[in-house]
C-alpha cells in the first residue's frame, strides 16, 4: 500500500497563527466591500441555490398530500387536503410502528459510531501531530493510503469474518466497522498541529503533568472544533450508510432508516395493492433528514472552522 498520500501535512503545518490575523483583516475588508454587491452574481447564485432547495421543497409539499392528491395535483403546490399530520401518524404506526425502531437504531448506530470514531481519531491524530516516534511516518502513510480501498473490498470479507464470529445481524456489525475513520485521523493530525501550541504542552510538562493528563485536560480543549467536525462527518457517514447495514442485517427490527426506507419503497413500487405507501415513504424520507439538517445548522460554526484547517493543509 505505497499509495500516494493526499499530500501528508509537512512540518510547515506548524506555522499556525497565520489564520487568525487575516481573518480579522478580512472582516474589515468585508465591511469596506458591502457596497460592492453584484446583482448579476447574486441572481445567478440564488438561481443555483434554488436547484438545491427545490427537491427538498417538493419533498415537504408532497408530505402534506394524500396518495390520491400526489397523483392528481401539481408537485409544487398543495393538494386538496392537508395531510401532513395524518401522514406522519401513518409513518409512525405502519407495521406496528417499526419506523420509530429504525429511528432509534439509526440514532444509536450513528451516535455510538461517531463518538467512538472521533475519540479514536482525536487520540491518534494528536499522537501523530505532537510526538516523534519510530514508525510514525510509515504508519501514517498506510492509514492515509487506506482511504482508497473500495467499500466492497472490505465489506465482503468483513461480512464473512463477522459471520464466523456470530456477529452478523447484530448492532456491532454496523458499529465496529464504522469506528475507523482514516480521514478523521488525518484531519485531527492537521488540526492538532495547528491549534495545540508546543509551548503549552511544554508548560504542562514543567508543571509535572503526565502525558495522558496533558492530552485529556489541556490539549482536548484546544481541539474542540476539530473534534466536532470529525464527529459530525462520522455521524453523517454512519447515518447515511446503506451498504454496510444492507449486507450485515436481515432482521427488520435492526434496520437503520436507510435500509428500512429502501425496503418500504420497494414494497410501494412493486405492489399494485400497496399504492397507499407512496405518501408514507415520502413523509418517512422527510422525517429522516430533519435531525441531520438541524445538527449541521446548529454546529456550523465549529465544523466550518474545523474543515477549513484540514482543507488548507490538504
Amino acid at each position: 500500500m505505497s499509495a500516494p498520500t493526499i499530500g501528508a501535512p509537512t512540518p510547515s503545518a506548524l506555522d499556525a497563527p497565520r489564520a487568525s490575523t487575516p481573518r480579522a483583516k478580512r472582516h474589515r475588508r468585508q465591511i469596506m466591500r458591502e457596497g460592492r454587491r453584484s446583482t448579476l452574481l447574486t441572481v445567478l447564485l440564488w438561481a443555483c441555490a434554488a436547484y438545491f432547495l427545490l427537491p427538498l421543497l417538493w419533498l415537504l409539499i408532497a408530505s402534506t398530500k394524500s396518495n390520491a392528491d400526489l397523483f392528481s395535483s401539481f408537485g409544487f403546490w398543495f393538494g386538496k387536503d392537508f395531510n401532513l399530520f395524518t401522514n406522519i401518524a401513518q409513518v409512525f404506526t405502519f407495521k406496528d410502528g417499526v419506523y420509530l425502531r429504525w429511528v432509534l437504531n439509526t440514532v444509536v448506530y450513528a451516535g455510538v459510531s461517531a463518538f467512538g470514531a472521533s475519540l479514536l481519531a482525536t487520540m491518534a491524530g494528536y499522537g501523530f501531530a505532537k510526538y516523534r516516534f519510530p514508525g510514525a511516518r510509515a504508519i501514517f502513510s498506510v492509514v492515509l493510503g487506506s482511504i482508497m480501498i473500495p467499500l466492497t473490498a472490505l465489506a465482503i470479507p468483513t461480512y464473512l469474518l463477522f459471520s464466523s464470529a456470530g456477529l452478523t445481524n447484530t448492532p456491532f456489525a454496523v458499529i465496529i466497522p464504522s469506528l475507523v475513520s482514516p480521514f478523521g485521523v488525518y484531519l485531527m493530525r492537521v488540526y492538532a498541529a495547528e491549534s495545540v501550541p508546543d509551548s503549552l504542552i511544554e508548560a504542562a510538562r514543567m508543571d509535572g503533568a503526565g502525558e495522558m493528563r496533558i492530552f485529556w485536560q489541556v490539549a482536548l480543549r484546544q481541539l474542540g472544533p476539530g473534534v466536532v467536525t470529525v464527529f459530525l462527518f462520522s455521524l453523517v457517514a454512519t447515518w447515511n450508510n446503506y451498504f454496510l447495514p444492507l449486507i450485515m442485517l436481515n432482521t427488520s427490527d435492526l434496520y437503520p432508516l436507510t435500509v428500512g426506507l429502501a425496503q418500504w419503497q420497494a414494497t410501494a413500487a412493486a405492489g399494485s395493492g400497496s399504492q397507499a405507501l407512496f405518501s408514507t415513504v415520502i413523509t418517512g424520507s422527510l422525517v429522516s433528514i430533519i435531525p441531520l439538517v438541524i445538527a449541521f445548522l446548529f454546529l456550523q460554526r465549529y465544523w466550518q472552522s474545523g474543515l477549513g484547517t484540514g482543507a488548507v493543509k490538504g
Binding site: R33, L53, F71, P134, I147
Partner: protein, 317 residues
C-alpha cells in the same frame, strides 16, 4: 471556542529553562510510550477492520467455489476471468464515463460557488451557502428515492410540467438517460460538500496576497484565476481525489434506481453493484473479492496518475 486558542500562551519561564540531558532522554522515552498509547486504540480497530479484511479478501480471491461445496485453489484465474467479464468491464466503463463527465461539472460548480461566496459580492451569501450545502446532510438513499419520484412519470413534477405544456415528457429513467439522471443526483448531493472544502480554504488566504492586485485594478476574475485558485490547489486536489474514489465506488444510487427501473439499469451497472450481486445473490464470494480487488487497484492507479500529472505541472510552472 476559537477564543480558547488565544489563552493558550505558555508561561514565560518555560522558554528559558533547558532540562538536563538525563532527564530529557527519560522524558523522550515517556513521550514515545504516550504516543503509542494514543495511537494504539485506533490502530487496533484499523488493523482489525481494514488490514485483516483486506488480506483475507486477497486470500479468498485466489480460490474458486466448487459446486459440491468447499473451495479449490485456482491462483489468479478469478482475475483473468474478471478482466474478460463484460459485466465488470461494462461497469468500469460506465463509472469511467461518470468520472470524466460528472466530476468536472461538480467540481467546477463547487469552485464557482466557493469563489462567488468568498468574493462577498452576493447578497444573502450565508443563506445561499447553507442552501447549497444542505443536500449533503440528506442520505444518498433518500436523495435517490426523492429524485426517483421527481424523475418519475406518475407524479413527478418534471413530467407534470411537460404535460401541462402539451409536450411529451422525456423518460429520465430510460436506457440512454439513466446515467445522466444519476450524475444529476450525485451532483446535487455533493456540490455543497466540495464547495465547503474549497470555501474554507479560500477563507484562510492572507488578504495581502490579493489586496495589492485589486488596488492595481485587476478584475475579480483575474484575482480568482491567478491568485485564489493556485492558493487553494491542495484543497482542490483533495476534492478531486475524493471524487475519483467516490465515482468508482458508486453503489447506493444504482442499487436503488435498479428497483425503480430494473429493466434499464441491471444489477451490474457499476463494479461495486456487480460485486455485491456476485457475492450475495450468486454466492460467489471469491470472484466478488477479485472484482473488488481489481477495482481498488484501478482507483489507486487513477488517483496516483492524477496526482503525478498535477505535480508535474506544478514543477514546470
Amino acid at each position: 471556542m476559537a477564543v480558547l486558542a488565544a489563552s493558550a500562551s505558555a508561561p514565560p519561564n518555560s522558554r528559558s529553562r533547558r532540562p538536563p540531558r538525563q532527564r530529557s532522554t527519560q522524558s523522550t522515552r515517556r513521550q514515545t510510550r504516550a504516543a503509542y498509547l494514543l495511537i494504539t486504540p485506533f490502530l487496533v480497530v484499523f488493523v482489525a477492520m481494514l488490514i485483516v479484511p483486506l488480506f483475507y479478501s486477497g486470500y479468498l480471491s485466489l480460490f474458486a467455489t466448487q459446486l459440491i461445496g468447499g473451495q479449490e485453489f485456482v491462483g489468479l484465474s478469478n482475475y483473468v476471468q474478471a478482466l474478460t467479464d463484460p459485466s465488470f468491464l461494462g461497469g468500469l466503463g460506465r463509472v469511467g464515463l461518470f468520472l470524466l463527465i460528472q466530476v468536472p461539472i461538480m467540481l467546477v460548480l463547487a469552485l464557482f460557488f466557493a469563489l462567488a461566496l468568498d468574493s462577498s459580492r452576493v447578497r444573502g451569501s450565508k443563506a445561499a451557502r447553507l442552501a447549497i450545502f444542505v443536500p449533503y446532510a440528506v442520505p444518498g438513499v433518500v436523495a435517490t428515492l426523492m429524485w426517483g419520484y421527481l424523475y418519475g412519470n406518475d407524479f413527478g413534477p418534471i413530467a407534470q410540467t411537460f404535460r401541462a405544456l402539451g409536450i411529451d415528457a422525456p423518460n429520465l429513467l430510460a436506457n440512454d438517460t439513466i446515467l445522466g439522471s444519476m450524475m444529476n443526483i450525485v451532483t446535487w448531493e455533493f456540490v455543497g460538500y466540495n464547495m465547503i472544502i474549497m470555501y474554507a480554504a479560500l477563507r484562510t488566504i492572507p488578504t495581502e496576497l490579493f489586496d495589492a492586485a485589486e488596488v492595481d485594478g485587476a478584475s475579480e476574475w483575474r484575482v480568482a484565476w491567478s491568485i485564489k485558485i493556485p492558493a487553494i490547489r491542495p484543497a482542490i486536489m483533495l476534492t478531486v481525489i475524493f471524487s475519483i474514489i467516490g465515482s468508482f465506488q458508486l453503489f447506493n444510487e444504482p442499487n436503488l434506481l435498479y428497483r425503480l427501473a430494473p429493466n434499464v439499469i441491471g444489477n451490474d451497472f457499476t463494479p461495486n453493484q456487480y460485486a455485491y450481486t456476485v457475492a450475495f445473490v450468486n454466492q460467489d464470494v471469491p470472484y466478488a473479492a477479485a472484482i473488488a480487488f481489481l477495482l481498488g487497484l484501478v482507483i489507486m492507479i487513477v488517483s496516483y496518475v492524477v496526482q503525478l500529472s498535477t505535480q508535474r505541472k506544478e514543477n514546470l510552472s
